[in-house]
Symmetry: D2
Subunit: 273 residues, 4 copies
């Protein structure tokens, strides 16, 4: 017996989402903290964005597997998904490893998955914004509307990782999906926002979950090379930062019968080696 | 007698910064709440970003004066500063109305001001980022470094409103100025971030203060026209939203002798008409 | 009797395309020169891009009508199509006034038209590029491929005005459509290119036709305000230039039976008031 | 004796400029054609833009030396200058290998050079535009004005390779420098423009010289991979095209006493292996 039984008492579905895992420091911290958080927060389901988990640039199959072993039911991604070539065949093999859904037809991989969990069926969607990013992707607004309509035939419990840069696009997406999905949580900026709330029709929203990566860094990268880059115009490669790691995410409680969110709260833990 | 005497006891300088004021709803809420906050938070100095206070687009002299009457010692701005033509001559007349400092030489107005306050001399700087914005401005990194060196001859108490889009540029600016200014607080995205902290060398930092504007909006604008815009490619004008207003800002305590920050905390109030 | 009979001798279809007409100077020159060119070049069909004909910004119904009266069978446009509001209802009424075809579904107006001419049916298509422009339009490559397939059921004589900025996108479009349409001629940069040729499978191509506008200008605008704009970062409005007008275009000869182009040559005339 | 004596008769200075050399095909064609052109066109001075000569991406010291051996007095470049790392130390050693001048202070290499020729001292400047390119470079307009003022103390014969994308910026630069330099010729788009002319105050101008590279390509790259790239959003590397090579450039005649241009004409040759 375990304390998930206690949790089952209220019958709510508790989903934890962790933002962009950055490099080895991020992987280590997530690997160690996820099992602890699962217990402490009585989690039913975990989603992790892994787009920067391979040295800050993309993700490999091996890393995706390790995130799933640590507890992630689904690994989402974003614009960095193509950085490591080995991920392309893996996307075809592992339906729980997602790429943003609004790439053109014929792109390898899938942007959503529907899974069974103890309490309900859960759909997880990965979506990418266009403003200040690759603007040539399919428009995420009609794309997600059409997909959600189909997914709701299977389950009302739908989690959307909206990987986007501009706050206007992110906030607009929250309103666009209010009442249609359980939660819209943003990723990509690597900085958590303090605007988490449940929108009027029952969708939990936060502009950005923040990253899981080294605190004393520039959104995960070593400070000095980034500062140098902002001073010169010559190409530079940034290493992943070091030191204490901040794990950022959001905990959402959802009524599994209706898919409506009851609460969303920021989750943040600092991990020192 | 008033409770500012109590405050004077610890000798710390208490500065409140409010993020982008949006339209009439934002102006009203700030006008009513600022005097209350001044008392409640025992404020020594108030800075307000007013770049969207005129119907979401820029600021007029009249509005700047009203913000100052409500308690703002300095009004900062950003990329929207040129939206209302009447502001151009006003920038020359009123040194406490700032535009971003890193415009090319010859641009009307000033990007910084040094004022006397009861506890210390205070420098306020307005700076604009380049990533995902007007990239043709002067590089803010060397520009601010040179200015800060000069300002420190007058006072170590320096507040920087860094009006920028990209989290990488904002966080990098925090590290760039750590130990050289009292605080770097971002504006422009209209969403408050949950990353406020005092950096190792004593500079308070927050990626974005958030806005003072209607909550049920897309960063200040009415939801429906913005959603329409994200679906079509035809030009649209967005009105300012309505309903309850969220006033977002940051309270920073500073040692007036050294200019070092001791704390930074998010301030948020909701105002219903 | 008229000298078109002489022309009819070789049975080829002679199409003149004129690039972006800029302001009143451009309109005047085109209005006076088109009838002359029609005779001189024994033209069967005239297409004119009018996106800058209203003071440099968009086009009005009245101006579109005047261009048609001067001889244009079809008026094409580009990114400036929405600058004048009155054009929106006109787009619905006049099938020979085109907007770029690759706007999202539901956008007013049409991006192509099929007309009867003495020698053959002619399809004219207006298409917009994405690189360095509005990248959120539908991808022009698959969009035009699907449309051309349908148009070829009606006629093999297809003219495409590809309104685009980047040479890579324009040249790629030429290869993409080689053998499928009669001609792909670019617009938007306002500078004629010297790369006109018939591609191996029979499609005439030129990266840009150039504009019909004042020579002593910056792509149609007065020199001084543009230079000022390149020096400061403050908003400026540019007036249309004055003085001698350069009318730039391309003459394409097409086999009406197969739709294949036999030749393309630059046409340029200078007009002084 | 050689036929340069004939040329010396009119005393004019004849400068040939060749646009971006692309890959091995471009290098071969230029290597074989330059000596021929030197004779045929009675050239006094040759400048070649080599920014794509190493497989389309940058230039190596070895290639720069081979271009100089073929006759180039100066090799200019552009945004691709940093693609090959070995060029960085070479920039310090070889003053006739230029990078764009408007990089921030402290950038390796130089953006101009003054050389002696038989008829006059010649200054060659490499400048980069900002619109649609790296917008964070120093503003080319004031940068070139200041440099030209200094160069004119040494010689009025000044050639400017303006490596830029937007026609507006290129044409504006022509007017900006009219009467101050001998010629402004653009590069970077790889497509020659048909707008060559001598501006009213004596500066030869052409928006773009075009490239020296394979004709049946997309601005130098193989057609198929580029078309694939325009259809999908996944990363692709483009190889250099093959087949016949087009060598594009401009021949400018200059009065060496005044620096004023008397003529500019397009030069184009097709080379088959
Ligand atoms: Fe990321
Ligand atoms: Fe990302
Ligand atoms: Fe703002
Ligand atoms: Fe702003
Ligand atoms: Fe145009
Ligand atoms: Fe255009
Ligand atoms: Fe190039
Ligand atoms: Fe280039």
């Amino acid at each position: 017996m375990n304390d998930n039984t206690a949790d089952s008492a209220d019958g709510l579905f508790r989903l934890l989402f962790l933002g962009d895992v950055v490099g080895e420091p991020g992987r280590k911290a997530v690997g160690l903290l996820l099992p602890v958080l699962k217990d402490e927060l009585k989690l039913d389901f975990i989603v992790v964005n892994g787009e920067n988990s391979a040295g800050g640039r993309g993700i490999t199959p091996k890393i995706a597997i390790s995130l799933m072993r640590a507890g992630a039911a689904v690994v989402t991604s974003g614009d960095h998904i193509w950085d490591q070539r080995e991920i392309v065949p893996y996307l075809a093999d592992e339906p729980r490893m997602l790429r943003p859904m609004n790439y053109p037809e014929g792109t390898p991989g899938s942007g959503f998955v529907v899974l069974e969990s103890k309490k309900c069926k859960v759909a997880v969607v990965n979506l990418q914004g266009r403003t200040f990013m690759n603007q040539q992707l399919d428009n995420p607004f009609p794309a997600i509307a059409a997909l959600v309509e189909k997914l709701r035939e299977e389950t009302p419990v739908i989690f959307v990782d909206f990987h986007a840069e501009a706050t206007s696009e992110k906030v607009a997406m929250g309103w666009h999906l209010d009442g249609k999905v359980s939660a819209v949580v943003g990723t990509h900026t690597h900085v958590p926002t303090a605007d988490e709330r449940v929108l009027p029709k029952g969708t939990a929203f936060q502009s950005d979950a923040g990253m899981c990566g080294p605190m004393n860094s520039v959104i995960g990268s070593q400070v000095e090379p980034v500062l140098e880059r902002f001073h010169t115009m010559m190409p530079t490669r940034f290493g992943v930062g070091s030191g204490p790691v901040r794990v950022n995410g959001a905990l959402i409680t959802i009524d599994p019968a209706t898919g409506k969110a009851l609460s969303i709260e920021r989750v943040a833990r600092t991990w020192h080696e």
